[in-house]
Amino acid sequence: MQVDIKTTSVTQLRHTFSNVARRLGGDRPASRYQEATFDLQPEVNFHYRPLWDPRHELYDKNRTRIVMRDWYAFTDPRQYYYGTYTIARSRQQETMEKNTAFVETRGLLRTLPAEAHASLTERLLPLRHVEWAANMNNCQITALGWGTAITQATMYHTMDRLGIAQYLSRIGLLLDGNSGDSLAGAKRVWMEEADWQELRRYVENSLVIEDWFELFVAQNFVLDGLLYPLAYQHFDARFGAEYGPTLSMLTNFMSSWFDETRRWVDATLKVAAAESEHNAALLGEWVARWTQAAVEALKPLAPRILGGDGAAILETLVAELRVRSEKIGVRA
C-alpha cells in the first residue's frame, strides 16, 4: 500500500503481525478479529507448575481429551473480539432497557393475576440459578481451555450468562415490586421442589466435570440446547397465549442470544469433530451421556413447566438436538 504524505512517499513495511501472516500464508491485510485472537495465549516455555494442579503446565493441552493440530481452527463465526462483542451487547441491552421501562411504568407484570405470578416464580425464575452455574462453567473453560479462539468466546459467554441471570432476576423484581419475594420463592423451588431436583443434580454434577471440552458439551450444547427452546420458546409461547406478550419483551435477549450463540457452539463442535475420528467419537460419547442425563433431569420438569404435553415437547426437543448434533458431524 502506498500512502502519500505531502511530497514524501512512504512504503508500508508489512501488513500484519508475523504470527498472523504465518496463518494467512503470507503478509496480507488481516482483520481486527484475527490480530486480536491468533496465538495470543502463551504456548511454550512455562516457568512453574501450578500449585493447584501440579500434574499440568500452567496452560496445558492435556486438560481435555480432545486433540487438535491447531487450536486456532476454532474461529468464532461472529468474529467477536472485546470491542465488537461489547458493542453488539450494548445494542441488545438498549432494547432490553426500553422493554423493561415499558413494562415497569405500566406495571404490566405486577398487575398480572396471581396465577401468572406463581407460574413465573415456579417455572421461569429458578432458571436464574442454572444461568449462575453456566456462568461458572464457562469461566472454568476460560480458565483452563487451550487457545484464545475458544477461551475468549467462552469469556464472553461467561459474562452473558451472568447478564441473563440478572435479566431473569429483573423479571422477578418487576413481578414483586422490588421486594425480592419472587426471587426468594424461586430459590425455594430450586432448592426444594421435587420436580426441579433432577435438574439441580445435573447442574451440580456439571460443576465438577474435569475435562473442559466435555463441560462445554454438557453445558453449552446439551443442556442449553434443550432448556433454551423449552423455556424461551415453548414456555414463553404458552405464557404469552394466556397473558399477552409482556414476558416475551423481557426474554427477548435470551431468545436472540440463543440463536446467535448456537452458531458458535455448533461451529466449535463441528471443527473438533471434523479433526479426527477420535474427536468425533469422544464428542459422540459426551453428547450421548449428557443428553441422557439431561433427559432424566428434564423429564419431571417439562410437564411442570409446560403442562400436559411437556413430555411430548421434550421428546421433540431431544430429537431436534439429535438432528443438530448429526448435522455437525457428531453421532451420539
Binding site: 513495511l13 406495571g107 398487575t111 423484581l173
Partner: protein
C-alpha cells in the same frame, strides 16, 4: 389486557438502593449444593491456609450489573475505535517525537501486553476458584477487562507495526526472548500460586501499589511524545484500572479482616510481590530515563512520588491490620539513583539479541541525567557512556557476545549493585538439593528460599540456550561454522539487522528520516558546530 381482572392489586414498586438491587440481582444467585460437595466444586480456595469465615463480608465496591457494564464499555469501545481509525487514516505514527520513541512501544507490546492477557486468564482462574459470590464476580469482570486491554493495545500498536520493526512477532517473542522471561515469569509465578495469592499479588501489590509506576510512565510518555493513539487507549483503560485498583484494596482488607491467622500469610505475600514487582519495574525505569525522547520525569522522582509518598501512606493505613511496609523497600529506595543506568547499560551490551534498539544518550540527554541524578550519573555512568560513544564513533560499537548469569528468581541478569556500594555487583547464593542457585539481591534470595521447589523450575533463558533448547528443529550444532547466537535469534524470529542492534544505523531511523524529513535523533551540538 388482564390488568382489570387481576385479583392481585399491585402496590407501587419499592425503591431499591443500589446495594439492595445488586444483592438481589447477583449475590443471591448462589446456593448451598446438595448433590456435590462444596469442596469438590471449589477445590482450590483453601490450600493456601487463608481462613474465610464469612464470604458475605465481601463488599463489592462497584455493584456493576452486566447491562450497565455492556452499556458503558460498548460506548467506550465505540469512541476508542473511532480515534484509532482516525489515527491510522492520518498517519499519526509520524507525529511522534522521533523514531526512538517507537522502542518504548516495542517494550510495551512484547513485555506488557502479554501480561494483560495473562491477567485475563489469571482472573478467569480466580473468577471460578472462590466459593464466595462477590469476589468471583469481581474477578470475572476484571478477567474480561484485561482481555479488552490486550486487544485494544494490539489494535492500537498494529498500525505502528506496519511502519516500524521489532513489533512484528510480539507474542512469539514474549514466549522466547531472554529478557521477556522477566515479565513472563512474574505472571506465571502469580498464576501458578493459589487464588488468594494471585489476587494479592496482582490486584493489590501490582494494580494498587505499583501500577502508577507502570501505566503512568507509558501513558504520560506517550502524551509527551505525540503518540495520541496510545494516549487514547490509556485514557480509555483508566476507568477500568480504577475499578481494578479498588478491587485490590478491598480484597486485601477483606482477607485481613476475616482471621488474624491470615495476617502473616498476607504479609509474606506483600513482601514477595513488592520485590517481584519492583524488579519487574526495572524495565520501566530505563524506559523513563533513556528511551523516551521527551522525558516526563526521572525514575527516581517517580519512585519518590508513587512509592515513597503514596505507598508509604497506604502502608500506614494498613498498620491497623498488623501489616508493615514490605521488606526491602529501603533497598529499592537506595537503588533509585542507579537502577535505570545499570539496566540501560546492560541492554546496550546485549542489544544484538533484543527486539528493540538501544543507543548512547545524546549530550543534552546526558546533561538531563546529570541534573536528575546529581549524586550518581557523572560519577558512575557518564564515563561509561562517553567511552562507548567514542568507540562507536571509531566504528567499534560494543556488543557483548557472551551470555550473562541470571538471577534465579527475577531472571534479570546479575547487574545490580550492593545496596551500600554502587561499584560492587551484588551476588547472593544458596544451595538446594546439592545445587547452587544465584540471586541478584536479598529480596530475590528470600523469595527462592521460601519456595525453592517452585523456583528451581524457572525456565532461565541463558541456561536454556546453553542446554540447546533455544534452537529451531533444523539447527545443527555439529555443523561446521555453527553460530549459536545467530541460531538463537532465528528461534526468536528476530529479523537481524532490522529488529535488533544500535538505533544509529537502524532501518527504523533511516526510514523515519526519509519519510518525515525530520532528524531521527537529537542533533548533537558539536555536529551542528561542524556543519556550520
Amino acid at each position: 389486557m388482564t390488568t382489570n381482572k387481576s385479583s392481585n392489586i399491585a402496590k407501587a414498586p419499592r425503591k431499591l438502593s443500589l446495594k439492595e438491587n445488586y444483592a438481589l440481582m447477583t449475590r443471591d444467585l448462589g446456593w448451598q449444593p446438595s448433590y456435590q460437595s462444596v469442596d469438590k466444586i471449589f477445590p482450590h480456595d483453601h490450600f493456601e491456609g487463608i481462613k474465610i469465615h464469612n464470604w458475605e463480608g465481601w463488599e463489592d465496591p462497584f455493584r456493576l450489573t452486566m447491562d450497565a457494564y455492556w452499556k458503558y464499555q460498548g460506548e467506550k469501545e465505540r469512541k476508542l475505535y473511532a480515534i484509532i481509525d482516525a489515527f491510522q487514516q492520518n498517519n499519526g505514527q509520524f507525529n511522534v517525537t522521533d523514531a526512538r520513541y517507537i522502542n518504548t512501544l516495542k517494550l510495551f507490546l512484547t513485555g506488557v501486553s502479554p501480561l494483560e492477557y495473562a491477567a485475563h486468564r489469571g482472573f478467569a482462574i480466580a473468577g471460578r476458584a472462590f466459593r464466595g459470590v462477590g469476589p468471583r464476580v469481581a474477578c470475572q469482570m476484571q478477567a474480561i477487562d484485561e482481555l479488552r486491554h490486550v486487544q485494544t493495545q494490539i489494535h492500537t500498536i498494529s498500525h505502528y507495526n506496519k511502519f516500524f520493526n521489532g513489533l512484528h512477532d510480539f507474542k512469539h517473542m514474549h514466549d522466547r526472548v531472554w529478557y521477556l522471561s522477566v515479565p513472563k515469569s512474574y505472571f506465571d509465578d502469580a498464576m501458578s500460586a493459589g487464588p488468594f495469592e494471585f489476587i494479592t499479588a496482582i490486584s493489590f501489590s501490582f494494580e494498587y501499589v505499583l501500577t502508577n509506576l507502570l501505566f503512568m510512565p507509558f501513558m504520560s510518555g506517550a502524551a509527551f511524545n505525540g503518540d495520541m493513539a496510545t494516549v487514547t487507549f490509556g485514557f480509555s483503560a483508566q476507568s477500568d484500572e480504577s475499578r481494578h485498583m479498588t478491587l485490590g484494596l478491598e480484597v486485601v482488607k477483606f482477607i485481613l479482616e476475616q482471621d488474624p491467622d491470615n495476617v502473616p500469610i498476607v504479609q509474606k505475600w506483600l513482601d514477595k510481590w513488592f520485590w517481584r514487582g519492583y524488579r519487574l519495574l526495572t524495565l520501566v525505569a530505563m524506559m523513563m530515563d533513556y528511551m523516551l525522547p521527551k522525558r516526563v520525569m526521572s525514575w527516581a522522582e517517580a519512585w519518590e512520588i508513587y512509592f515513597e509518598q503514596n505507598g508509604g501512606s497506604l502502608f500506614r493505613d494498613l498498620e491497623r491490620y498488623g501489616i508493615r511496609m514490605p521488606k526491602y523497600h529501603e533497598v529499592a529506595t537506595k537503588e533509585k539513583n542507579r537502577l535505570s543506568h545499570e539496566a540501560w547499560a546492560t541492554f546496550y551490551n546485549y542489544t544484538a539479541a533484543t527486539d528493540f534498539h538501544t543507543w548512547v544518550p545524546s549530550s543534552q540527554e546526558m546533561n538531563w541525567l546529570s541534573e536528575k541524578y546529581p549524586e550518581t550519573f557523572d560519577r558512575y555512568y557518564r564515563p561509561r557512556f562517553e567511552f562507548w560513544r567514542e568507540r562507536q564513533q571509531q566504528g567499534k560499537r560494543f556488543y557483548n557476545p557472551t551470555l550473562p548469569m541470571l538471577c534465579q528468581t527475577c531472571q534479570i541478569p546479575m547487574i545490580f549493585t550492593e545496596p551500600d556500594d554502587p561499584t560492587k555487583i551484588c551476588y547472593r547464593e544458596t544451595e538446594y538439593r546439592g545445587e547452587k542457585f544465584h540471586f541478584c539481591s536479598d529480596g530475590c534470595k528470600d523469595i527462592f528460599c521460601d519456595e525453592p521447589e517452585k523456583y528451581v523450575q524457572a525456565w532461565l533463558p541463558v541456561h536454556q540456550i546453553y542446554q540447546g533448547n533455544c534452537f529451531l528443529p533444523d539447527a545443527d550444532p555439529t555443523a561446521p561454522g555453527f553460530n549459536p547466537l545467530a541460531e538463537v535469534l532465528r528461534y526468536y524470529n528476530l529479523n537481524v539487522g532490522h529488529d535488533n542492534g544500535d538505533y544509529a544505523d537502524s532501518p527504523d531511523r533511516r526510514n523515519w528520516e526519509q519519510w518525515t524529513g525530520r532528524p531521527g535523533a537529537p542533533v548533537e551540538e558539536e555536529e551542528v558546530g561542524k556543519a556550520a
